[in-house]
Symmetry: C2
Subunit: 337 residues, 2 copies
């Protein structure tokens, strides 16, 4: 009983780019660079911050350790830092933009990229919340821009949300799907543009509800985290919400589930509308609870713990030929190990 | 870097009950029975449905298979079906009530249990949404009632939410924590009674947001599930929301994260308030999308796939001495294997 759904049968195109540029080398951009390099793709990088090279090196070291945990060959293709966006993007097949989440900054950065690269280069924006159509407003070649929103740690988690704007060509979407698959990822094409795409809508809902629980003194940050990771978080690493509830519906299937539980689920909706103000007091409470919960580990240690756990679980799923484990199996086919 | 937090250091009391009764043998009650029996606790059971014995047997078979996947000794202590609640609960240390989620039914069932069992038996209710105080309204001995809300599959997932009511004795909470720990679980004591406790509040938030996405044609059930299980679902199997975001805050810690991202997160709140009506058309759409997504597998197959994946990931976390893996390690210490 391995995973082989009608929706995803047949080989799907997967071709990693010959060369790539990362514009913006914070945690996300640096992790993209690591994923590219681990797939043998040489990278040109631009970031005005004096911290950028240090971050890129630290994230690359984490990524190498994670790939060793996965049992994949952890060889990094070269990276070259450039003095300008133009120099970084001039001659590459894929440009991944990961600058801060400010629309005007995204627009101007993407316009600079658009002018400096060949018209057939693919441009992916890592934006977690902005619309492709709005970011493309000033581009001469908006047809080759997509949102390609990854999840931290980008060198391990397979998901990338691919969203086109009004001007994005259908061929660009196809190409982006193939390119990100070629980088060992699970690209999810989202057909409708909405703020925050899909995954961050769900995260935002949990975030909002969690703040409410802390604000009202119902639970601490540690209790909420434990309620997640000892329960439904385990389920969601391998099946999502709907497939899990389908099982709850039993032989009657999902229709049975929703007809039985739908009405019961409706009443809390009105109660859950309440959301707390992010007052200084709430911020302080969150901060001190988080220190109490996680302060025994440095952030560097937490990153390594997270990555070791993710790699171990992904290998377990690979063994079972299911879900995120299948992306690891595909990387292993391609890269050896 | 194994898990050893200040909040949970030191050995915590863990004593499985000598005997237990399950009242209500649907999927939840049957899975409780399986967990008890796999811990060597003999069980008396009551359920008026002619289907109850079949469900108990099928769930026990799944639980045995899952425990074999965990590498734990999969021996079932005996179970005895009784003709009345009174006969089932008369002489046991723990009664686990799992009847349907209707307040008046819970109240009358718990009153029957309360009258028929010795006053020092512990009574746990599996309610996912009701308040302990309201359920205890008619009890002669409300001091020994707790909510003990588990998560499916109960024989695998460690989380159990323990909530007392106004009349619940402090000693009962302590005892319940010890008893459920003794059954290999991670009891989470929730100090404030609210509808749906903690985990189901978070699930409800995601459920509501997901229905909205399907209703508006933004995504299908399969796309939403993939957005979960290839991304943040993997993260949440080992660290919750807050610890994950603490990492995102970098060396500045959680305060840095929330001061940086808090304001940006505030604006979608008002947009996310909208929730869809559960119309026939939406129900039909959900059902047909779920069939398209998961129809290649029977529910029986999905259960086994889920359990194999959960067991494999929990063993991986056990290897890393982290989170849910530690509950497996504790069971292995106690039970062998």
């Amino acid at each position: 009983m391995t995973e082989n759904r009608s929706s995803s049968t047949g080989p799907q195109p997967a071709e990693s780019p010959a060369s790539a540029a990362v514009v913006g080398c914070g945690v996300i951009g640096a992790a993209w660079a690591a994923r590219f390099r681990l797939h043998g793709v040489s990278v040109k990088a631009y970031d005005p911050s004096p911290e950028a090279e240090r971050i890129v090196d630290e994230v690359a070291a984490n990524a190498v350790a994670a790939w060793e945990d996965l049992g994949l060959p952890a060889r990094l293709a070269p990276i070259e830092f450039c003095d300008s966006i133009e120099a970084a993007v001039a001659d590459v097949e894929l440009v991944q933009e990961s600058v801060p989440e400010v629309l005007t900054l995204k627009q101007s950065t993407l316009a600079t990229i658009d002018n400096a690269t060949s018209a057939d280069a693919l441009i992916g924006s890592s934006t977690s919340g902005l619309l492709c159509t709005e970011m493309a407003a000033d581009l001469a070649h908006p047809e080759r821009l997509v949102v390609a929103h990854p999840f931290n740690p980008v060198y391990l988690l397979p998901l990338v949300e691919v969203v086109g704007g009004k001007a994005t060509a259908a061929a660009t979407i196809e190409r982006a799907m193939s390119v990100y698959r070629g980088l060992g990822m699970k690209p999810l094409h989202i057909k409708v543009e909405i703020d925050a795409h899909i995954a961050d809508r769900l995260l935002e809902a949990v975030w909002r509800e969690s703040l409410w629980l802390v604000n009202d003194g119902v639970a601490t940050t540690e209790e909420i985290d434990d309620a997640i990771r000892y329960g439904f978080g385990l389920r969601w690493a391998q099946m999502g919400l709907f497939e899990t509830y389908r099982i709850a519906g039993g032989e009657g299937g999902f229709g049975h589930f929703i007809r039985q539980f739908g009405p019961a689920l409706s009443w809390p909706w009105t109660k859950l509308m309440d959301v707390p103000d992010l007052t200084d007091e709430l911020v302080d409470r969150l901060e001190s609870q988080s220190d109490e919960q996680s302060g025994a580990y440095s952030v560097r240690e937490l990153e390594r713990i997270r990555d070791r756990n993710l790699a171990a679980m992904m290998r377990a799923l690979e063994e079972n030929q299911w879900g995120a484990g299948q992306t690891v199996a595909e990387m292993r086919d391609r890269l050896g190990g």
